[in-house]
Amino acid sequence: MSILFQGRATGATAVKQSLWNRFVMFWVHHIRQAMTSLGEIWLTPASSLLTVAVLGVSLTLPVTLHLMVKNLQQVSSSIDQAAQISLFLKADTNETQIAELIALLQANPEVADVQFIDKGQALAEFTAESGFGDAFSYIEDNPLPHVMLVSPKNTSSVAASALLETLKQERYVELAKLDIGWLERLDAIVSLVRQVAMAVALLLMVAVLLVVGNTIRLMILTKKDEIEVMKLVGATNSYIQRPFLYTGIWLGFFGGILTFLIEEVLLWWLKHAIAGVTQLYDSTFSLQPLSLAELGYLLLVAVGLGFIGSLLAVRRNISQIEATGL
């Protein structure tokens, strides 16, 4: 395109090329520029490494929080399945009454399973496990009540609470307890952690944008003379900014990879500690690492942040460098 001289063939249009050829060349050009930017990062490893490190560490925190939420949710959902209602029977309940109650409960369509724990059996278990041992032999009467463990068919906390209310009305029941209070608390904590993770992620993303933007800004300033020359020989702003955009993308990409590596090391490090805790709770919990899809999202976000950060920097800085020339 020549503005001054109609018909003066310039650039790629001067060389008669087919549409397909130009399409291929377009991509070849972009790939070449991407590789050139990669090469420049390679040539100035110190500053690039620092930026990548900042990116990696910044993104690690939100990713860690995300993994925490994911794993806590897994824990709470597995516990939810095991929700049980404990019915503590009145002290004077006799065997026929107990049998009557069991039959009644088993007939209830809401109830999946009933398990009876005799108070003598409960005391023996408690004596054996609590470590008080002989202390119990000084107590004349067994202070423990008979207990009935009822598993509801529908284990959602709402349905279980409804069942709890009906069971409380039973004649022989002294006290009925559904231990979902702490489950609700756990859910609340998980959602709090999720909110915190969101806030932290947002803040750190802004930080990443600023870091990338500043790195690119410094790169632009060190190449000020070169940019000026390019402007003098007719380079458009979009041509000049392209390598910087690729640099931003590469920085984001390597930042994302570094985040993934840090995360893997962190998980490996925490694995044993977590295994120790879960063993104590006798749970089948296993630590969920970052899935392939999540790694994809992480890289996408990191690359996106690198791109946007550099875009902000080039928009502000490249048009400001004017050819003073001559």
Partner: protein, 227 residues
């Protein structure tokens, strides 16, 4: 080819760099622009290359009013003008080849076609053997010739040169001028700003003389007779 119509350029603070300058450079013409430093030579060249815009008056290139060229079109205008700078404006950490190829790369050339043109341009300025060198390993005259090769590599119809022989000895200056003459002979319009009066006298081309921003002489130089 290049026409100035009552062009005035004043800077903030009231300094008038150019005062109602008018002239016309024909297609295929070669002319010198001279005057003391501060007379407005650089300002005039900046108005042509759209580094600056006139305060009043109009500049035309090939009949196109430059005031109608918007910011986004400026790069495309510069591709039609070959510019040569006193301080060369080369990319010091790129090879001679890369420097000369730059305008072609910007325009989307690649491969064999680009190499052919770069070699042709370097051949014309006699630097084909330095194609792989870095600019700082070259002498001042050679660097200037790399700058000329870069300016002509995409065959612009108009060449502007700002003090192209600035720091060169007379023999080298003559060589550089011969290069310009050679381009002029194949139809390129050339405007050279220079205060090297003895050189102008020897060359005997049309000379535009600026003094305090005004065009005081537009014709063949008369300095030759004085010396």
């Amino acid at each position: 080819m290049l026409r100035f119509e009552q062009v005035t350029k004043s800077y903030s603070g009231g300094f008038v760099a150019l005062d109602r300058v008018s002239f016309h450079l024909e297609k295929g013409e070669m002319a010198f622009l001279t005057g003391h430093s501060g007379a407005g030579k650089s300002t005039l060249l900046k108005l042509i290359s759209l580094i600056e815009r006139p305060t009043t008056g109009k500049v035309f290139i090939n009949g196109v009013d430059l005031s109608r060229v918007n910011r986004g079109q400026v790069p495309y205008v510069r591709r039609d003008i070959g510019m040569i700078f006193q301080n060369h404006k080369l990319l010091m950490n790129h090879s001679v080849f890369d420097n000369v190829a730059l305008p072609l790369v910007i325009e989307g050339f690649s491969g064999k076609d680009m190499t052919k043109r770069v070699h042709a341009a370097l051949d014309k300025v006699g630097l084909l053997d330095k194609v792989r060198c870095l600019p700082h390993t070259l002498s001042g005259g050679e660097q200037q010739r790399v700058g000329i090769a870069r300016a002509v590599v995409n065959r612009p119809p108009l060449l502007l040169a700002d003090e192209p022989t600035g720091n060169l000895d007379p023999d080298l200056s003559k060589d550089i001028m011969n290069v310009f003459e050679a381009f002029n002979q194949v139809g390129v319009s050339v405007l050279i700003a220079s205060h090297d009066l003895s050189l102008l006298a020897r060359m005997r081309y049309r000379t535009l003389t600026l003094k305090n921003g005004r065009m005081i002489n537009d014709g063949l130089t008369s300095y030759g007779a004085d010396e």
